[in-house]
């Protein structure tokens, strides 16, 4: 683009505009339309974020500065919380995308009848309240009386039964598995939307060219669903980082803080330990982490958030 050329061809060059033209009647009207949303954003999102940032700078003994952040750097539970938050994003997304995409292909392209039934069934866990899910899966995982334990006992493996939620090494993964169970239905549904938007001609042409089976999935379906995947990665990342009820209700972040994430640690430090300024600092870190992860994901995916498949025309 030539220097000084307008960024948008339809608009005059900035230097050539008069002030009156910039704030013309049309723009005032546009500003008025934006104003309600902007006001809501300012009051309910921007101001709380700013207030939280300010709160995070009030350190121990009410001294201003980065005291809470240096305290966090030396806090082993904070380190565990960051590691677990990243684990949640990576493991949840990997399984949700894999399961979601595979089941969507199965439903949309290979199921002759009853697609709506399967989509509904798979989506059902999404509408169940987390407290119920937590209670059910606590019982599912429980030693002595749990369903999983019953299975092990039936196989004569009772003595080898792993207390998944009770061991620091597996507690987080056991809760992530529940999260994957709950959210995969949503991923299936979104991929179903994406796949159903693919032009049938594309698939027929690919088949004529010999693209079948895994090749069709890898070279045709997956690239055409890139917009859907990008959107799901962003949504899934935010969901995984925000996850609180399942963790708190199933382990309270334990045992020994091993399943603590940034979200649960904010609650524990702020509401249980009454260290609201420290909790604010942890919240700022969570905010920045979410921002960074989403930015990286968006960049890697080349932008383009969409729930529908890419355009039929290359």
């Amino acid at each position: 683009m030539a220097a000084g050329a307008p960024r948008h061809p339809g608009l005059p060059r900035a230097g050539a505009r008069r002030r009156g033209a910039i704030l013309g009647a049309g723009r005032w009207e546009a500003a008025l339309y934006v104003l309600p949303a902007a006001a809501l954003f300012a009051v309910f999102i921007a101001e709380p974020i700013a207030a939280n940032l300010v709160s995070s700078l009030i350190g121990p003994h009410h001294r201003w500065g980065l005291g809470n952040y240096t305290m966090a750097a030396a806090d082993p539970v904070f380190g565990t919380a960051i590691r677990n938050s990243l684990l949640w994003v990576v493991v949840s997304l990997a399984f949700e995308i894999a399961i979601g995409f595979a089941l969507a292909i199965l439903i949309e392209l290979h199921l002759p009848r009853g697609r709506a039934v399967f989509r509904t069934l798979l989506f059902l866990p999404m509408v169940v309240t987390p407290s119920v899910i937590a209670l059910v899966f606590n019982t599912f995982y429980a030693s002595d009386y749990g369903l999983l334990y019953g299975l092990f006992r039936a196989l004569g493996l009772a003595s080898a039964f792993p207390a998944l939620l009770g061991a620091p090494a597996t507690a987080s993964l056991a809760i992530i598995a529940v999260n994957v169970w709950q959210w995969s239905g949503f991923f299936v549904l979104m991929y179903c939307v994406g796949l159903s938007a693919i032009d049938r001609e594309h698939l027929d042409a690919a088949e004529i060219d010999g693209a079948r089976g895994w090749n069709r999935v890898r070279h045709i379906l997956w690239p055409l669903c890139r917009g859907t995947t990008t959107s799901l990665v962003v949504l899934g990342t935010i969901q995984a980082l925000q996850q609180f009820p399942l963790i708190y209700l199933m382990t309270e972040g334990g045992p020994a803080d091993s399943s603590q994430t940034l979200a649960t640690y904010i609650f524990q430090t702020g509401f249980v330990q009454d260290q609201m300024h420290y909790a604010s600092a942890v919240a700022v870190v969570l905010f920045l982490l979410a921002l960074a992860l989403v930015a990286v994901e968006y960049r890697l995916a080349g932008g383009g958030l969409s729930l529908a498949a890419k355009s039929a025309r290359p």
Binding site: G166, A167, E252, P255
Partner: protein, 441 residues
Amino acid sequence: MLTHRPRAALRRAATGLAVLLGLAVPALSGPARAAEPVTVTLWSWSPVAPTMAAMVAAIEKAHPDIRIRATIQPHTAYFTALKAAAASGTLPDIIGLTPGNYTQQYRPHLLALDAMAKAAWGAGWERHFAPALLAQARLGNPAGDIKFYMLPMEAEVLNLWLDRAAFHAAGIAKPPATFDELVADAAKLRKAGFIGMYQGGATGVFDNWVYMQIAAQTDLKDLLAAEIGKPVWTRPGMIAAATVWGELFTRKVVQDGALAALQYPTGANLFAVGRVGMISLGSWWLQETHLSTDAKLQTMSGYDKFFFPALKAGGAASAPLGGVDVGWGVTKTAAKSPAEARAAAIVLKELISGGGEQVALNQLNDLPAFGGMRPQGTMPPAVRRLYDSYIAELAHAHPHQIGNPVIYQALVSNLQAIGAGTKTPAAAMAAVQAVAEAQGK
């Protein structure tokens, strides 16, 4: 024009008169307005909602000029809502509190209750409460501040409960008298198909309470010092208690996967349906006599209580730990109008020593904090025996609250690490000690 001006003046005069009348009529109708009930708002997590509803009905019946809008929420949700309400200046008039941590968190929003207590129960009102309960009520007050910001309604004693049928099925005749017997009984119970001793390890407060019951034997003096924030966690007796706590896991006294288990609702439900041999609960278990429809629970004939058994042969079981279960604070919201303040004072008295508390006691919600209060009506013999023994034990029970929430959380986390085998008792107590020292700075 000449006629218009007087008309306009008349119109203005009439309008002014109407405005004055509008202002004066409601003022003149004062007595009718005064007859309207004053609303007192109350939030808590305890007592349970049906009990609170009955308490409210009893208080409103005795004081028709007062309406109580009570909101009962689960523990976590309640304290989260309270935090938000305090930050936004929308606290209710009366709030349920535990001593120490929570009372201190909300102290800036609470009224000192000394004058209210004097008005309610006269000079020397303190004699109506056990000294230990009053000491707990002031736990964590700044040095020199001897005012009361919460007053206890009910008290509790911690102990272990056993299921007689499970013991009988496992061939055990009596509660374990020593730690070795506890280990052996748990094994027998397990062999008979029961959970030996259920531990809801994911519910931190019960990890904390079991450890404290053990420490009451190994080093009571330092335990009491630790409760008020002294960094004494690495004293030999405190580490010894942590070692015994660890043995509950390594010697399989508690069930496999205990650290993932919840005391409520899971543990209590399993105990109620007869799947558990022993469980750490407390005096509040007696309320099942009113909440349950099961005859075994209604009469408590199938259950018995005991304290943590002696760690050495010939030794004594742990001394009772207990204290304030739930108390009440009156917020500065109530002071906004004299009528509301007066109504809040009346409700406070009713909740602690009046019709409200009587209803709670009749439902065996827990033990009374106010001297002389007793449940009315008849009780099954087993319930009477248990209740009377609790009342006797409460009189000399040692406090069971750790005042500082950060130290409390560190203790829970490190006890879980011992249970999981990721820390030795000495290392875990050193970690708690470090937190306690940092908090003391």
